[in-house]
């Protein structure tokens, strides 16, 4: 999926969820489930998620965005992508 189509579809959450389920051995993930506290992810997952978001949604994540609140759960990452995309567009 390209960055434009991901945004156009308006399915940010679905796109991130699909990536999460490809990365962790679970049948499903709750919207607010803490990905890091649960221990379900490997040590490279955090930076893999960053790379995935940058590539898929066409946004640049920098040091200022390094806040665990932005990536802690499916809902948090979705909110971050939407906020960052809106800020980039404006």
């Amino acid at each position: 999926m390209t960055s434009e189509s991901a945004k156009r579809d308006g399915d940010v959450k679905g796109t991130i969820k699909k990536f999460l389920l490809r990365s962790i051995n679970l049948p499903d993930v709750e919207d607010d489930e803490d990905l890091f506290e649960s221990g379900m992810v490997n040590s490279l997952f955090a930076v893999q998620l960053t790379t995935f978001i940058e590539k898929t949604f066409g946004i640049e994540i920098g040091a200022d965005d390094l806040d665990i609140k932005n990536f802690r759960s499916l809902n948090a990452a979705t909110h971050f992508v939407k906020s960052k995309s809106a800020a980039t567009a404006s």
Binding site: F19, L21, R22, S23, I24, N25, L26, P27, N42, S43, L44, A46, V47, Q48, T50, T51, F52, E54, K55, G62, A63, L66, D67, I68
Partner: protein, 384 residues
């Protein structure tokens, strides 16, 4: 690597091989014996842009793609793992800074790294922690008022540290991981060379010691809490790609040296290459080179595309080629017999260096753990 190379990539590969043939191969054995590489050659690498090959042009780099970076490392790895380590650690620090550094950090350091004016080191390993990245004893503390960091601790086995002028140090602060730039001349920071390694002898390894080293908080790269999770993996990604391709260079060297030797060496009226048991060694080496080619190209391509699988492919490439280079070097020495054991033979140098490839930038066992977790994570989507 030779899969789907563009004309430009092929031209650069030819340039790299010519450089290595002229400036590296004739002197690599001397460097290993003397345990130091030539500063003039490192300077020449900087002038050619090799030490900043994948940094953007705006910082004085070449802006080359990762496939070209892989070709560069393979060409150098064919002749000298020690010299290739300069490409490895320089890219690890530069790419971590490029991704997570502040504007001030980038403008201060990247142009100097790009030209090779200075060499950098990436310092993770500690005397008592090995591969356990969450057990750092190296500690940063904020002095009352918060305007100064105080660093205490020790690092070991730090590549190129004998000559580096800037170090990216990983440690903890308030029980959070942190990455911080530490210039060599900072008071309280000392570097003690480590010598007499079995291979990789000219890679300039050293011990680092920090005693009440004072640093500005602006030297932190990224943010506290993100040193291990975000800053380190970006550097390690390039470290793994570099090491994978360097090990592929060793494999290619073993293969080519062995084929040439087996073709000319006579046992009675037959060449070595006509003996089935010898052909078995050649077959294994050649097949491993082909497999390593594919894995390295795939890892570089994935990183060029910033594909989600890029970390996995780099792990797989490094995991395979580092082990295969040990097999190839062992077989290459075996094929040559006693002559292969002497320091005048490139196979002896390959043998010493290949094992180091299995240790640096994550041991084989660390790779097995990570790759095993990643592959198990795909259990729910198998076949999709």
């Amino acid at each position: 690597m030779r899969y789907s190379l563009t004309e430009q990539q092929q031209a650069r590969r030819a340039e790299f091989r010519e450089f290595v043939a002229s400036h590296v191969e004739p002197r690599a054995a001397d460097w290993e014996r003397d345990q130091v590489v030539s500063r003039q050659v490192v300077q020449l690498m900087g002038e050619r842009g090799y030490l900043g090959s994948n940094l953007p042009c705006e910082y004085g780099g070449q802006g080359w793609d990762v496939v070209t970076f892989g070709l560069l490392n393979e060409a150098f790895g064919r002749a000298s793992s020690s010299l290739t380590s300069y490409l490895t650690v320089q890219s690890m620090v530069a790419m971590a800074l490029l991704k997570w550094g502040t504007r001030e950090q980038k403008s201060a350091w990247l142009p100097r790294l790009a030209t090779g004016e200075i060499i950098a080191s990436f310092a993770m390993t500690e005397p008592d922690t090995g591969s356990d990245l969450n057990a750092f004893k190296t500690e940063f503390k904020r002095r009352a008022g918060g305007d100064t960091l105080i660093l205490n601790g020790n690092k070991r086995w730090i590549t190129c540290a004998q000559v580096s002028e800037i170090f990216l140090i990983f440690g903890k602060m308030d029980n959070q991981s942190v990455a911080c730039l530490v210039p060599r001349e900072t008071p309280g920071f000392t570097v003690e060379p480590i010598r007499e390694l079995m291979g990789f002898r000219a890679a300039g390894l050293a011990k680092l010691s920090f005693v009440n080293v004072e640093l500005p908080p602006s030297n932190i790269v990224g943010k506290p809490g993100f040193g291990v999770s975000h800053v380190m993996p970006v550097g390690m990604q390039y470290g793994r790609i570099s090491t994978a391709c360097s090990a592929l260079g060793i494999m290619r060297g073993c293969f080519e040296e062995s084929v040439a030797y087996a073709a000319r060496r006579k046992i009675g009226d037959r060449s070595l290459g006509e003996i089935g048991l010898m052909r078995r060694l050649i077959a294994r080496m050649g097949t491993d080179v082909e497999a390593g080619n594919f894995l390295c190209y795939n890892a570089c391509r994935a990183e060029d595309e910033r594909a989600p699988e890029s970390f996995e492919t780099a792990l797989a490439a490094k995991y395979f080629t580092s082990q295969a280079s040990v097999r190839a070097a062992s077989d290459a020495v075996q094929l040559r017999g006693a002559a292969g054991c002497h320091e005048s033979s490139p196979t002896a140098r390959y043998y010493g260096s290949a094992k180091i490839m299995e240790i640096i930038e994550g041991t084989t066992q660390v790779h097995e753990d990570l790759l095993g977790r990643m592959y198990m994570g795909q259990a729910g989507v198998l076949g999709q």
